[in-house]
């Protein structure tokens, strides 16, 4: 994440969470007055809030100053890797776990909106090494159409939390719970198609270390507790696994033509 992107992210984040942003002279400087909710979330001072709430005092929320340039004097330096930024990045998941949105269409288009279930996942491939990818799948809850890269498409559409006046939603045929199941099976089959060379290599390393361990304890029968503990540790270290972690999910009511190729998706 470049410094400018961090600045941009922070501005969006504090605006969206309702904090007041002071206009600043410098483009690398950001000054915000936190709301009560955000103060509680970011400032880690439960005693203060407990005291204020018990005594009925008037709370003074914190004002934070961030700088995204190392050369400025004022403010807390945030960069990719600074604990403050990661605290903020982490908090987004708690702030936005679930959503429901409607497509905002020009009034002359068809008023029927189709229901979609969208789930965002982070997929991690883990042994003694680890890598991740991100995955977003959408399921149309009437005809069962599945779309990979759902979130990217959503970001090109005009969406609103309130149903537009002239629109109505179609009734889903697939229940949400079974929709989640379909998406999981879709991801699972996609994962099974993938190359597993990384897992084979990890298993080789695992086997080699296990053989060494067995040789070390060869003379000891029955095996001591430490042997089993070491075995378990090797499993922890090497066993190849794929973790599909949830980021966030939502219900989306969209016009069917939004997903046709060549559709002018920026239509507003």
């Amino acid at each position: 994440m470049q410094q400018a992107a961090i600045h941009d992210f922070l501005v969006k984040y504090f605006k969206a969470s309702g904090c007041r942003i002071f206009s600043e002279a410098h483009k690398d400087l950001l000054k915000v007055k936190l709301t009560k909710e955000m103060d509680k979330r970011l400032m880690n001072r439960p005693f203060y809030w407990h005291y204020i709430e018990k005594t009925g005092g008037i709370p003074e929320t914190a004002t934070l100053v961030f700088r995204t340039s190392p050369d400025l004097e004022e403010g807390e330096f945030v960069h990719f890797g600074s604990p403050r930024l990661h605290q903020i990045l982490d908090s987004t998941k708690d702030l936005a776990p679930f959503i429901r949105l409607y497509q905002n269409l020009p009034s002359d288009s068809s008023p029927a909106l189709e229901p979609w279930l969208g789930i965002n996942y982070k997929i991690s491939y883990q042994c003694d090494l680890k890598k991740d990818r991100i995955c977003s799948v959408g399921l149309q809850l009437i005809n069962g159409t599945l779309i990979d890269g759902f979130q990217e498409i959503l970001q090109t559409l005009a969406l609103t939390p309130k149903m537009p006046d002239y629109c109505y939603t179609l009734r889903p045929l697939v229940k949400t719970a079974s929709g989640i199941g379909r998406i999981e099976r879709f991801i699972e089959s996609a994962l099974k198609e993938e190359k597993t060379d990384w897992a084979q290599l990890a298993e080789k390393r695992w086997t080699r270390d296990r053989e060494l361990l067995n040789a070390f304890y060869e003379q000891q029968n029955p095996k001591p507790e430490s042997y089993f503990q070491e075995c378990e540790a090797l499993k922890e270290q090497y066993e190849p696994r794929i973790l599909v972690q949830y980021i966030n999910a939502g219900l989306f009511y969209l016009q069917s033509s939004s997903f046709l190729p060549g559709f002018p998706s920026k239509a507003r």
């Binding site: 003694d128 991100i134 298993e203 599909v244």
Partner: protein
Amino acid sequence: MEPKIHFDRSWQESFLKRIAEDGPWAKPELFTLAWQAEKERLVPSFHGLIAPDRLPQLSLHPHQIETARTVIEDMHGKAILADEVGLGKTIEAGLIMKEYMIRGLAQKILILVPASLILQWVAELNAKFSIPAVPQRKSYVWDQCDIVVSSIDTAKREPHASLILKQSYDLVIIDEAHKLKNHKTKNYQFVRQLKKKFCLLLTATPIQNRLSEIFYLVSLLKPGYLGDADSFARLYKSGKTAVRNEKKLKTLVNQVMVRNRREDTGLRWPKRIIQSFEIPFSEEEFAFYRSLSDLRTAGVIQGFSLLTLQREACSSREAAFLTLNKMYRTLAQPQSEMLWQSIFNKLNAIRQNAKAEKTLELIRKINDKVIVFTEYRATQVYLQWFLKQHGIISVPYSGGFRRGKKDWMRTLFQNRAQVLIATEAGGEGINLQFASHLINYDLPWNPMRIEQRIGRIHRLGQESDVHIYNLATRGTVESHILNLLYNKIHLFEQVIGELDDILARIDLRDIDKQVEQIFEESDSEGELQIKLDNLSSVIRSEMDPAGEELHHAAGGDT
């Protein structure tokens, strides 16, 4: 093997509940930001390091980055870090830890270090790596905190031990791991029992010389890697200490150990510029110094006490007075009263301190930050007063200070005072590389202490050449040490860590005792010289054997 696929389903119930209750729903911008936050933090490849880019304020050296990569990718997170002193093993360990944390491979981490280094580790991990490590203070930290720094002596005792053994650690780091070479000790057994996925053992002392040590250290990391104890002995041991199949063993060990040497790192190391001064005592000082021998001649004190007094007299009359006064109170008899009085009179007659004058002269000439090392508290106080008289501000530093006070003194020295006066115990664990001048006001008898003193400023991060000034009073025990021992073994010119190696090889770790003994037992100057000479040639003969081999080989051609 098919990797197991695990779905996180913890969220599903609350999602369905939200739908049933028609909200509350997130704000659209935040929903997108949450997606972006995850996307930005993805680790797209199994290989390479992410951590260095996330630590823009830490300047890492290429060998440190390469070490972290090797440990993670080639050694699968189990390794001995055995860099020479001063190359930044702590940084390497921190970097590995950070990488594992970013990748989500390590959360629960235990760091076992000598008690005196706990706070330094905590401070470095927090400041340099933004790793929220905490020092162990209460027994509940084991459960509640993810990253704990503790001493092994605390950890192995109850109630801690059983709490720790219940934890499953992703990463265990052990500093000064050479202390674990004996597999029969409680420390070794304790570490053995820890549940650990990844493990780093840090040591600066090369361990190849004692075969079983390397075996037990490696077995801590990877049991069976060097076979079991019997097969190891059969394969590699010949006789008591000699090695067989050395090449094979080395190859094996090198796959679990990283040892960077100073010369391989390609770093420019600042030069050491050494100046030694033999300073003549003033007449009064010399008279006092000589009169001390009368105490021994009269049978009032033993050789050892005399030696102590003489060394103190070389430092300052204040230092000598404290000991002398103590002795007088316990040992004085009516018949020796005259003798004591004459000695105290001579002490009182001293009007100046030749070494202090020289120190002042040097400090003025250097006109930059200077660290003065002395062995004695009394001298430390005296010097501070003496410098103050001449308008030079100094701060004291002692090993006995609390951590906070140490940090404060260090900061004062960095920002305000020209001089830091440290007593011996201050030698360990403080980094002062912003200064490049060091005065050895008096010389300790253990050359390792000199190493530690110099190591405070001659380390990674030192940008100027390092100047070392040695003061010894002419014609005293001190000048013997300087001329007959230190200068002969080229002590001051040596690379840090080298002496440690040498002394370990010849089993001469308590060299100061040897020196003491030589002084005590020698009846004449000649005997003293011969004995010190022997000692220095033993040390010299062990120096740089590789270089000697080369020399022989080259000689063989002609």
